[in-house]
Symmetry: C2
């Protein structure tokens, strides 16, 4: 058996947060950051923290925001040799403020940042030599040249017998572009493990009904579907199995990164040979620990931390 090597690709950002609820970016105030962030970066950092060989393809600027990310990822064990430092673009950023109603408000600089320059030239076949698993973050698919790059990476990994997982956290506006929708359906057709949040299950199907959407996706050839239901836990569907796991109860401090840590932990556990139920329990624990810490990538957990948490809860 090949040494498992999990890879992903996409935006590597810094996040700057307000310190007060309902704090507006229309006035100066106290902030905290820059925290390393970006959904694929959080995902892969969680994979590395579980001791699995892994890497990320992405672009940052040649600036301290980029170094902030690269140093954290390297320190946690992520292979950073395919993170490109661009001279003409700054590292992407996300400013986030938390509103009274529990939602978040963002100001993003991604499309015109280094992360927006990711393209097929950054996808080098040699880098995938040991790759057995490639994870696609829907948030990364905000331009056609990135979709092309993603498709190239998927085809390389599929051709060598690897597994594709897909977390479709896509911006709604993207789905209104017909060619973008087609590209996403194509990615879903390549997918082995589909990991939507509950409101995303029918995003790319011909039906709006959850049960029909699950059936349709399994019939497309997707082997496993994991639906993330937040405080309601998660559900797992395959041809043969249906599993429901309740969520752990936890005091939510910062929801950013919870879904990424959940997905990373499920994939990492499966790569270690665990069955779906065991992987889901760990994934639930990982999501719960992620929301209990402030900062997008601050809530990643080791197996020791997950075991301790599961034992206590």
């Amino acid at each position: 058996m090949k040494k498992p090597k999990i890879m992903t690709m996409g935006e590597i950002l810094v996040e700057i947060m307000t310190t007060q609820i309902d704090q507006s970016f229309r006035r100066p105030g106290n902030l905290v950051g820059p925290y390393p962030s970006g959904a694929p970066a959080i995902f892969i950092d969680q994979v590395a923290t579980l001791g699995i060989a892994c890497g990320i393809i992405g672009c940052v600027g040649d600036d301290d925001f980029g170094r902030n990310n690269i140093e954290r990822l390297a320190q946690d064990g992520v292979d950073i040799s395919s993170i490109y430092k661009l001279n003409e673009h700054v590292t992407g950023s996300a400013f986030v403020t938390y509103l009274k109603d529990g939602t978040r408000d963002f100001i993003f600089n991604i499309t015109n940042s280094a992360s927006g320059q990711l393209s097929m030239e950054h996808v080098q076949e040699a880098y995938f030599k040991d790759c057995t698993h490639f994870h696609v973050m829907g948030s990364s698919l905000f331009s056609f040249h990135i979709v092309d790059a993603m498709t190239k990476a998927i085809e390389i990994v599929k051709a060598q017998g690897g597994v594709i997982s897909f977390d479709p956290n896509i911006r709604k506006e993207m789905l209104n572009i017909p060619e973008m929708r087609e590209a996403l359906v194509l990615i879903l057709e390549y997918t082995d493990i589909f990991m939507p949040s509950d409101h995303e299950i029918a995003l790319l199907t011909n039906t709006n009904n959850e049960a029909d959407a699950i059936k349709e996706i399994l019939e497309m050839g997707v082997r496993e579907i994991i639906i993330k239901r937040g405080k309601e836990g998660c559900c797992y569907y395959s041809e043969k199995e249906k599993i429901k796991i309740p969520a752990f109860k936890i005091n939510e401090l910062d929801p950013t990164g919870a879904g990424d840590c959940f997905g990373a932990t499920f994939i990492a556990c499966r790569a270690k040979g665990m069955d779906a139920r065991q992987a889901l329990i760990y994934a639930n624990a990982s999501g719960a620990l992620a929301v209990s810490k402030k900062g997008p990538m601050e809530g990643v957990s080791s197996f020791a931390e997950l075991d301790e948490f599961i034992l206590k809860n």
Copy 2:
């Protein structure tokens, strides 16, 4: 006499500052912001605060960073009708940290921000109807399409008998591009009032010697040169006059914006009909008050504040 209307054009940014000396952007930490910023924006806000009719041409994103700036400028009396809100680009930003040796370290998102999209189409002749004075900030001249836009604005104002002032706070890299250097020399040839810092006086001349540079620039047709010397005060040169004014002693808290407030106050005082010496004293006071407040645009002063400060110092 026409009602004086001072105008400028260029980058409108938010600034985010660290709270500790030597704080790095490679690690999360406490920050404060977003403050309204951008050299031309600070300049025009100081002009407005002195009660002079004025306006700025610039681009921001359709986001709260843009609204942060627009609301502050409008509140202080700047005409904001030529600030364009762009959909595809975020408002520019500058992260700044203060180092132990007194220097500053920046991470800029300007070139690929809304501010970098400024071009000739944003320079509408009708907007200049009442304009008697146009101020050029060298920091704004970071692309050829902005230089073209600036040249168009200068030619409109010159054609209707207006005055051009030029503060050449240019990034050094720009001067290494031969065509950019030529464009800047062209702007200097149009200039009536040149306002460099001491290290900038010979940037665009054929000599490195200050006295020769002053002579060369006056011979080009520039009518007045004001050299900003920081703690050493300022010097004024014209064909007939040479004036030296010492600086006020002040506890420096934040140097950002001091040169912009100095320049704005000199121009505003001249527009009100004061002689050069009187305008320089007010300009010195304005620069001194600017550095005594944290935040790039937070240190602008009214005539009442300037008079009170001058009386006490």
